[in-house]
């Protein structure tokens, strides 16, 4: 079966399963609120340094919550014994990883947008429409970067002992450029109102590289 068709099947199946696992999804959103509460109580930022504080808070919170979601995207297949069935099916293996990567990006995007809205609500920060649109673009690219990276390493680490510890060890160091770029672009958007700059190019190129990696290594990552 061709790559795009398989990608579509896997992504649609994951999207449909969201109805069964909506509690897990709300759990991640809840986690984001808890992170926001903890950061606020720990730092108590004043109105003057809110522009320095908010971008870091938004992205650290989103990455922590999203990574827990991403760590789980292969778990159901593995725990329900579907992995061997998937591998032996006529589905394109590259398409399976690509579909899961798209799902990972979708999870990251949704959680980050929700975190962003909750943060602005809790800190009573007002945005104009242009700033919000720019932020959505940043979230889209960073979600592609982080989601694809997470899904690829998730596939690579299937069957390894201590997978839940190893995966963040692979994932977080590689996500640092995405995190740094996203924080700095968000700061630029909030303070100066512009999007395009060096950090945006870094984010764009890095996300594109993750996309190419999934295309190149997706099939190999699922080989037994």
């Amino acid at each position: 079966m061709n790559l795009l068709k398989t990608t579509n099947i896997i992504f649609s199946e994951s999207l449909l399963s969201l109805r069964r696992k909506i509690g897990r999804f709300f759990g991640l959103l809840l986690l984001s609120i808890i992170f926001i509460v903890v950061f606020e109580l720990a730092y108590e930022p004043s109105a003057d340094d809110i522009n320095n504080f908010l971008p870091g808070l938004i992205w650290v919170t989103s990455i922590l919550s999203s990574s827990i979601g991403i760590l789980k995207i292969w778990d159901d297949e593995e725990s329900e014994g579907l992995m061997d069935l998937l591998k032996s099916s006529p589905l394109d293996r590259g398409g399976i990883v690509l579909g899961k990567s798209l799902w990972g990006a979708f999870v990251c995007f949704t959680i980050t947008v929700s975190t962003l809205l909750m943060t602005f609500f809790f800190f009573d920060y007002t945005l104009d429409l242009k700033q919000f649109f720019f932020l959505l673009i940043v979230i889209l690219f960073s979600s592609i970067g982080f989601g694809f990276l997470g899904a690829l390493f998730g596939a690579l680490s299937l069957g390894l002992n201590f997978r839940n510890i190893l995966l963040p060890l692979f994932l977080y160091p590689l996500a640092v450029p995405i995190l740094m770029a996203s924080i700095n672009i968000t700061k630029d958007i909030l303070v100066n109102g512009f999007l395009i700059g060096t950090w945006f190019y870094i984010l764009f190129v890095y996300s594109f590289v993750q996309f190419l990696l999934v295309f190149g290594l997706g099939e190999q990552s699922l080989e037994s």
Partner: protein
């Protein structure tokens, strides 16, 4: 006949709510003490939902505690139905409080002790619902959920006393005051109690409907 009465519980409640709303507009005096005028009407929704969320959390925790002690599933079912209503009430408390905050303080949210402790109570109730949703009818899910319900109830006095022990933007206790009798106009107090009755009616109706639904389903 029983099903017929069940069908009418929520519409009857809704009609009563509308009547009470008209009652508020007709009888309630505008606030003079804090110069809030008719904006004080928001209190008639905010406070009853807050009291209901506290009461429901405590009742849910009691049922959860009895489940942990006796291991009878009926208590767990009751606890779940009550905590669901407590979570909705807590959410409505935060929502109406937020609108109140925007009108009176000019901000949707402040990191004030009362608001933060209420948010933590809401998060605990959500955690209970998520645990129960994810673990279905397993004993582990019921046990963990019940323990979370008990912990959530321990937070209720902290929320209530937060305005006494921390300096907050949220006003201090008006009804359950440690220093003396309620500090509220008697007409307002009567309307507030009526609204509380209506919200309680809604809460117990929801619990009843949920329990009969889960018994049939």
């Amino acid at each position: 006949m029983k099903n017929q009465s069940k069908k009418w519980i929520l519409p009857a409640w809704f009609i009563t709510l509308i009547l009470v709303d008209f009652g508020i507009l007709y009888w309630s005096p505008p606030d003079a003490a804090q110069n809030m005028g008719t904006r004080v009407y928001m209190m008639y929704m905010h406070v009853p939902f807050a009291w209901t969320s506290f009461l429901m959390t405590v009742l849910g925790a009691l049922a959860a505690g009895i489940y942990l002690w006796k291991k009878e599933n009926d208590w767990e079912r009751t606890s779940r139905a009550i905590i669901e209503v407590a979570a909705v009430s807590a959410f409505l408390t935060l929502m109406t409080g937020s609108v109140w905050g925007k009108i009176t303080w000019g901000t949707w949210w402040v990191w004030d002790a009362r608001l933060t402790t209420m948010l933590i109570l809401f998060l605990l109730l959500c955690a209970y619902l998520i645990v129960r949703d994810m673990h279905g009818s397993s004993y582990e899910g019921k046990k963990t959920g019940s323990i979370i319900a008990v912990i959530a109830a321990l937070n209720v006095p902290i929320v209530h006393l937060s305005v006494n022990y921390w300096r907050t933007l949220h006003q201090g206790s008006t009804i359950f005051r440690q220093e003396g009798p309620p500090k509220i106009d008697s007409d307002m107090f009567v309307i507030l109690l009526t609204c509380f009755g209506v919200v309680l009616w809604w809460a117990f109706s929801c619990v009843k409907l949920r329990l009969s639904g889960s018994k049939n389903g």
